[in-house]
Amino acid sequence: MSSHAKETAPSLYGLMAEFATPTELVVAARRTREAGFRKFDAFSPYPMHELDEAMDLHDNRVAKFTFIGGLCGCVGGFSLASWCAAVAYPLNIGGRPLISVPMFIPVTFECTILLAGLTAAISMLVMNGLPSPYHPVFNVDPFAGASRSKFFLCIESADPKFDRHATENFLAGLNPSEIAEVAP
């Protein structure tokens, strides 16, 4: 980030509320979304499908990229086998076809799985913005519990509806055990 951006960066990344149970987090996330906030995130130590529904998360791009990756592997694997067997190193074995489709299926299949699997993992990481060793939420000390047993909701100051005091009051109404400021 340039020094200019640093000067104008807000002094607050957002406000974070801590919840004791998964149910409270889902309720809070749903109310936050219904209140019109969009730039907010929930944090939990395990995946919760109820949270996807409450926050209206349905990003399906990983599946699409995986399909494209698999397709490339499929075409690439078959082309590699065909090119080697018919162009680069043709062997005439009793006049049989150089492109022997059934014999190329295993390699085609393995290449499909290989590229699809790698695409699934890499596209998940890239779209999640990982690796990202630093993130403002780590500035909140109790947040270390998010990977163990605690549940958090963070509304970002970048949200157009964000207001330092009104948002804090809103969060306080969600029955959190703690509210903290998140330094950028």
Binding site: M55, E110, P131
Partner: protein, 464 residues
């Protein structure tokens, strides 16, 4: 988690996780094995033995590289000896890990959550052991990269119609995808270790490995999708890998190998030996690390049932092999089966029948399925049986094929044994290191099966 259906006492063997556990307690219990537990004398002693065995592969390889494959017991007609037997055995062991992590995930079996990490680690280590054998068997392992298609000054390209090349693609894909699946599964748990550790070096190492995972709901949503896709891809992959391994045999015209039953029969055998190996490893680990509240009787019972079921499929395979030999009306096939049962290697065949067909029948009894000690012994016998199966398949077919003038006896040398025992040492070493540096149980998936992890909410209202 509560039993969804009331089961009678004859079937129900307890919950999938001890009910006293909470989200925090499972995290600490599994994490502390890595972060807090002192290095014990038992672990040091075990690692010492494993490293001792590992020297077999070192000594065996050095001697092999100096002298060539002649130091092994292979000859003509037995061109394939221990190297292929051990390769197939190890690959098969690996398959249970993928089955547990991928197939049982797709089938929504919550009991897999406590054992999948360990089983996947076992897969990786077994495939590493397996991969060494074909490379050593080439005789000139420094040229092993010739198996890969790449532009070279000799203008040579590999033969894509050969099952041996399919093996290269299948096994390397399998290793890569297993490693990726394993690492993706580790990410959230590495973050847990990063956040709960109090030592700086641990925080730095686990911090780097966890890639800054923070448990965001937006991340979890894509993460779950990617996990499901990887599971869906790994499932046909695991079937394809052992199918390709069986093609090494079935595509040839050697009596006893040239059969269509080989792919399914090999896949079933792989799962069978793999589950036996999971039992062999999990029963001591569960005892030494006091994990019987997480790896419960339910797990042992279920794994024993899968072992029994796949054992029966394997038994069907043996019966069909004998039947094919008879029904083919081919004198070579008939002779091969007769020779297998009553020839020079008959004791191996009958030992294999004892280990793989008779022994698992004890698993019909619930009492035996829930006795860890007996189950452990049965699992060892099955492991031995599956090794014997590969020995019998490879050697009885090769040592007497079509022409009596080309018959010969195969006997392994001390160098065959050295490399084989060495890979067992390598496998054990990796397991010993794994249980101390990484969480051996998938913590975040354990949290998911706890009653306290359930959400009771509908349209923004708490329902309970």
């Amino acid at each position: 988690m509560a039993q969804p259906v009331e089961l009678p006492d004859t079937i129900y063997v307890g919950p999938v996780i001890d009910e006293s556990h909470s989200i925090a307690s499972v995290s600490d219990k599994v994490g502390n094995i890595v972060l807090k537990r002192k290095i014990t004398l038992g672990w040091t002693f075990g690692l010492f033995i494993a490293l001792g065995l590992l020297q077999g592969v070192a000594a065996g390889s050095v001697w092999l590289f100096m002298k060539g494959v002649g130091v092994w017991g292979i000859n003509i007609p037995n061109g394939w000896g221990f190297a292929i037997i051990n390769f197939v055995w190890w690959i098969g062991i690996g398959h249970a890990g993928t089955l547990i992590s991928a197939v049982l995930l797709l089938l929504n079996q919550s009991w897999r959550n406590a054992i999948n990490r360990f089983a996947e680690a076992m897969t990786l280590f077994a495939v590493m052991c397996a991969g060494m054998f074909p490379v050593l068997h080439t005789g000139r392992p420094w040229l092993a990269y010739w198996m890969l298609p790449f532009p070279n000054t000799m203008s040579l390209w590999p033969q894509f119609r050969s099952p041996l090349l399919w093996d290269v693609f299948a096994v390397s894909t399998y290793l890569t995808i297993s490693a990726v699946f394993w690492f993706v599964g580790l990410l959230p748990d590495l973050a847990t270790l990063r956040d709960t550790s109090t030592k700086r070096y641990q925080q730095v190492i686990y911090g780097m490995l966890s890639m800054g995972w923070r448990g965001s709901a937006r991340h979890w949503q894509r993460y779950e999708k990617a996990s499901l896709l990887l599971a869906g891809l790994a499932t046909p992959l695991v079937v394809s890998v052992h199918t390709v391994v069986s093609f090494d045999f079935a595509v040839s015209i050697i009596p006893g190998w040239h059969t269509t039953i080989f792919p399914p029969y090999f896949v079933a055998g792989a799962i069978y030996s793999g589950f036996a190996m999971v039992l062999t490893l999990m029963i001591p680990v569960r005892k030494f690390y006091g994990l019987d509240d997480i790896i419960t009787m339910r797990h042992l019972n279920n794994m024993a049932k899968v072992t029994l079921a796949t054992g029966l499929v394997v038994a069907y395979g043996y019966i069909m092999e004998a039947f094919f030999g008879y029904f083919s009306a081919d004198k070579y096939e008939r002779y091969m089966i007769w020779n297998r049962m009553f020839g020079a290697y008959a004791p191996f065949y009958w030992a294999l029948i004892f280990c793989n067909i008779i022994t698992p029948q004890f698993l019909w009894s619930k009492k035996i399925r829930t006795s860890p000690g007996i189950l452990w012994i049965i699992s060892i016998i099955v492991n031995i049986g599956m090794w014997l199966e590969r020995f019998v398949i490879v050697i009885t077919s090769l040592h007497r094929d079509f022409l009596p003038s080309s018959w010969g006896i195969y006997a392994p040398t001390v160098w065959d044994w050295a490399v084989y025992v060495g890979t067992i040492g390598l496998f054990m070493t990796l397991i010993f290191l794994f249980v101390r540096v990484l969480p051996m149980i998938t913590i975040f998936e354990l949290r998911m099966i706890l009653p306290s992890a359930e959400v009771h909410e509908k349209k923004g209202v708490v329902t309970r």
